[in-house]
Symmetry: D3
Subunit: 295 residues, 6 copies
């Protein structure tokens, strides 16, 4: 169960309205790697957690914090939208380029749909959807998802920091960047803890002898040229400590030439001209016709 305090986790006050920037800021609210994504990802991972309570607790702690981040950014966007122009008053389109530019750069739904409020969408107005998130039931897999989310997220916030000079906005972003620093560290720590006692490969419980033993540590070079041989992934000990990397310069096909059998008649696939397949309506009809002809 949850409860709310009215103060924001951190200040969210722009120095001046900026409706064009409001549109951009939506990316870290309702985008693929925005705060709604980490909020919902952590909450679902926490609720589904079947492991030790310390994990469940930790995941829900950060999930609960992320609701507050969504709250901060939504509040910021609503204020950036103050003073958004609805139109040029009584002028022909294009005559006042400055106002036109703002109108062109805004998200029109910020006026028409949300009435200068934040929307649960990204910077192109695309709605948040839950296929952005994952809760797999395997914490090592999911913590890697979380580390990725915090990495993409911090990267985007940094780019947004560079895109404004408003001190109030930058103050809030500076807080979010700091929390993402912590959260990247947090998931790295949790990953280290899980990896310490099991193989690094997810899932560690699948019997290794059941996987194909010929190709599980080979880099395959599917292009002309071998620049890809220069990296750490092409030679040396594998990161799971089980083998050595192997570089295959010219990988060859190991499988069959696929040849599918014709579809049954009721599929009405591509058939040869005149071909009639037994047991179909067509065949029954032909048969009946012949029967009729016999009489």
């Amino acid at each position: 169960m949850f409860s709310h305090v009215k103060e924001l986790q951190y200040n969210a006050k722009p120095d001046r309205p900026d409706p064009v920037y409001a549109k951009k800021l939506q990316e870290i609210l309702g985008g693929q790697f925005g705060e709604m994504s980490v909020m919902m990802q952590y909450l679902f991972q926490g609720w589904n957690c079947r492991a030790d309570q310390k994990y469940k607790d930790m995941i829900l702690d950060i999930g609960t914090e992320e609701i507050a981040h969504v709250e901060m950014i939504a509040t910021m966007i609503a204020q950036l939208l103050d003073g958004a122009p609805a139109r040029e008053q009584d002028e022909i389109v294009g005559q006042n380029p400055a106002v036109e530019a703002v109108l062109g750069g805004m998200n029109p739904q910020h006026v028409i749909v949300s009435g200068i409020g934040a929307t649960p969408t990204d910077s192109v107005g695309y709605p948040w959807n839950s296929r952005y998130i994952i809760s797999s039931g395997n914490l090592l897999a999911d913590f890697r998802a979380n580390l990725n989310a915090e990495s993409q997220g911090r990267l985007q916030v940094c780019r947004l920091y560079e895109s404004t000079t408003d001190p109030g906005v930058r103050d809030m972003l500076s807080f979010l960047i700091a929390r993402d620093t912590m959260h990247q560290n947090q998931w790295m720590a949790a990953i280290e803890e899980l990896e310490k006692n099991q193989k690094a490969v997810v899932p560690s419980t699948f019997p290794q002898h059941l996987e194909n033993q010929q190709v599980n540590y080979s880099f395959m070079n599917f292009s002309q040229g071998e620049e890809s041989a220069e990296g750490r992934w092409a030679s040396g000990k594998t990161l799971d400590g089980q083998s050595e990397f192997d570089y295959i310069a010219n990988p060859t096909a190991m499988g069959q030439v696929p040849k599918l059998q014709p579809a049954p008649a009721y599929i009405h696939g591509t058939v040869e001209p005149g071909q009639i397949i037994p047991g179909t309506e067509q065949a029954n009809f032909e048969q009946n016709q012949q029967g009729n002809d016999l009489h």
Copy 2:
């Protein structure tokens, strides 16, 4: 530019048709973490790559391999669909539970739409979409996305392996599981290489002094109870080597109580009864009325 050879990378031949399993197998073809996702993710990362050529080459090598994986699974699904029942012949629904069960467990689009062919969708028939993938322009961020994708992917393939006893299907899955072992190792190796010369936090180029210095290494406990203090993330050196973890048992709000100003009149937000806002059509109208009354 690309070219094609007719042989599959590895065998994809089921021992017997199984249209219900065909539906499940779609998950690793067109699902959130299916082969279409890694194929498109790697191709876009490769095409957008602005770093050293060895990275671009490596990423496109694996991207090109993944096209072959999509090909294998699509071929497998088409064969699993052979012999799919279209209906019970002339019987009342529910009379032949075995056939009904197969019909109920199949994806109906495998008959109606694709004519017993694979579809670019997941195991519930949801279409693949490109918001599943990321190419951010920052390779460390993206390699973490890739490691996550290969972890979720291998986990799902293992679950599908457990869900069938067909030797032909298991043979192909055994190959895919092995490649995912390699690919997890590959991304771990590439991550190690990138992290060696920079901070582990993405992006490493954002000036650290610009982030809020009070909260960038603190775990905040947003729940009653402190089980979350027991983990590696709550104390000790941070993983980026820059600080110590700090555990805040009772985090307090640092921000304002948000209070938004009323919307301008043209927004037609919630206004007080009888309130008339200057400059609006309503106000103009009232003013004109008064003017008229004066005459």
Copy 3:
């Protein structure tokens, strides 16, 4: 800012696993009118609220409660999935219809993707998306959206109550049905309060004389037969108290026959054969050809 307590708002314990029912229950978790929808709708309305603080507070109270409802249902689903079959052991498809039926009736992603955890999707596996919700900046409009959401929601929970006999599940649903009773009452009360001092038509601030005065209280019968004249909407005082309903048995068109002008050349629309439009590449080319011919 938010905080979490570990207890659920109400018990969520099934008497026995039922993976087929788990799939159905997803509807009120991640469906169009599920708890994720009301949770996110209320939170965004609260964060965007520019009206009196009592509204903002009330909206966020209920939004915060709804997070707990999502938590309860997610927890319930995870437990209903315990014991989900991954496959029939070593048997041919269709041989054990009972197991097959369960497999056919389950959501395959409950095994493959979420590892017997709840997913943020509806009962057909379709992901939740934020176009389900509205925060318009006009509270009367939004409270009507909320009343609708609670009406559709309670209706769906009642249907799910009828679809199970599990006492534990029914106990939780009985709680949710009761809360929806309250929440319908709550929004009806808030609507009554807002309507008391303004016109019932949203938005009440648009000057009534600017709307077309001929059609604003007329029911138009766009079909053969006049059964539609029998309802309250066809005669008597209008509900906003401004006029009388008017029934137009045979509405006639009041507008023009639309006739669009041809598209400019660069659109490459449908043109007459041989037609060449001045200023186009084609025209320039023809002109140059003629010029060349002159020399």
Copy 4:
């Protein structure tokens, strides 16, 4: 069955082209609460209607009218797009800000995809989808959905009216605003009629004693501070006439602390290091190994 007359229901003629405004106007054509939504919502409610014929007739009458509204707005948009610039002729980007602003403010698909025609999308180009609409089989629930749709719709049209000064556009919007006035009144009237003979809570047929009797009329204050106690929803008779509102200042959790059991082995969830679960491939393998060792 339907038929068409060539005249529009009302005039749809702009005084001048305005491709930037055409983009905005898309919101009420193909947006969440645009005319496509009400058109499809009413048609499906009508076709699915199992109640008295007067309801079916009335719903289909308004659904048929809404097709004409889509037609009017599509026609208007096509004309607003006349004269849309494809590019600046032979100039460097940014040199002619006025043209640039128009280009920036337009929807590029209005040129590239639809060839200066209307598209079935909203003002950010997001396609209309049928999860916007509801036909639940319970008319009281659905009429509340309809009242909401007409409230949000009229609000958006009013905002669009404020965003232009074109007399022709305003004339058409003035018609649509008037029809929405009628349609709000219509649904309010139909709701009043249905509520008169049953409880106001949807569905009225679920036995009231089966819902939890402790929480069905309580407002729960899930935040610090009690501003939310000031409203009509916190005290007095409930709107369904069955009880009194009850204000719970400090709601407490009534449920269990959730604790999920570990997942079965085939799920490959998070397991303790070294843990081997009986009946799994891993266990079988270990057992065989031991067996082999015995020999």
Copy 5:
């Protein structure tokens, strides 16, 4: 403007309920090539039509007919859902496989969401969306889209015909199949008419000399083996009558090896370790530090 008559265009009465088949039938109602698609595609093409009136009229005639097809199928589905089981009464899951099979094969939203009514979705419950349709402003292009839609549509209806033995359902499908025969003929006729006076390649108005003259009639064999040389597309006169097909057995790359320049600093892309880019916050900071050191 449109009007409605209460009779269906053709009978839509099943002989018996069949909720599993109702799920399948949704494909031709709300699927990619269902009746909603052709209805909306034709209506938008008609409204956007800038060509001769006979085209606009013809397109709207068929668009209007398709609304009636949606109506028929929706009505059919609602009746097929009569008698849908909500649950087994008081029995353990899997005990009555026949009922379980029906439950497993049904779309759960047909009970929970639509209350045994048709839904605007396809056979896997995926909502219809308007990216299924096209109105390009070029009638030849669009008539090809229409011919495709009617081809895919008739194919799907035939497969559904094969999937049932219900005489009432088959009667309706027999009508729809016949109309699709007509509609395929209709679009072929309209295409023939348009192609007669212009080149067959869309758009015919783009100056042919501006397209690359080396590759516009060459088949390129991007695979090992030359089976693809055996078809009509590999030799002989091209279908637009402008040239001869040319078969390139080993196509070679004609373009550059792509090499992107590094991203500017504010992008925070992948940079070399220690590298500092002038003009960035980092560089400014370093510079200031040095400046401070000087004092």
Copy 6:
């Protein structure tokens, strides 16, 4: 299996950056009829192909080529984005209209999300999804889909050609336009070949006598006025050579007036006031109450 060569199929080098145009160019990369669509459509058709090998080979040849087209356009977009402005330096919004216009016209995700890289989306930022494509198992149906895709695609590329004057961009588009000329010819040739030996109506294998014989060659005029009688589709021999077109000026309804029966009680549909349905919880309750009263 696939392999990669590092050279592009054709040059993709702009003369100068143009981030606004980069946004538009996305349409033919990730739009409904962009290169991702034809690439995935052809690959799936090839993998699912059950017809003669020459078809499978041909389809995969062109599918493989289309991957190279995606590569070219992605590379082009990345270069057009070089030099994209992140913000005006230290200026108030609207002061530098030229920069503002570029910012307004750009896709913000090109900076924030992809770091000046191409995205797998269309020109309004909407993600590519696999419901854009079709692989039906019937090649004649699918080749019509392909001809449509190449027609819409070439039309869009031509419009984009008109929207820029950059010689480098135009050079690449000139190549793509030429390939689309070939591909339209290719599909027309393949269609001609398939149609030669079977009826032109898809599918040709459905027994013609099973379709309704009264309406399969009739044009129905569902509007006032008969302009639609003037076309080739209204009279003369049908294109499948089986009949004559028939023009029905006033089509009449042939079906029933639909009348659905009331829903069962557990649906909680719209019921008459006071009505109690036997077998429901409500009825059981009433019965028990009466029983209790008897004692």
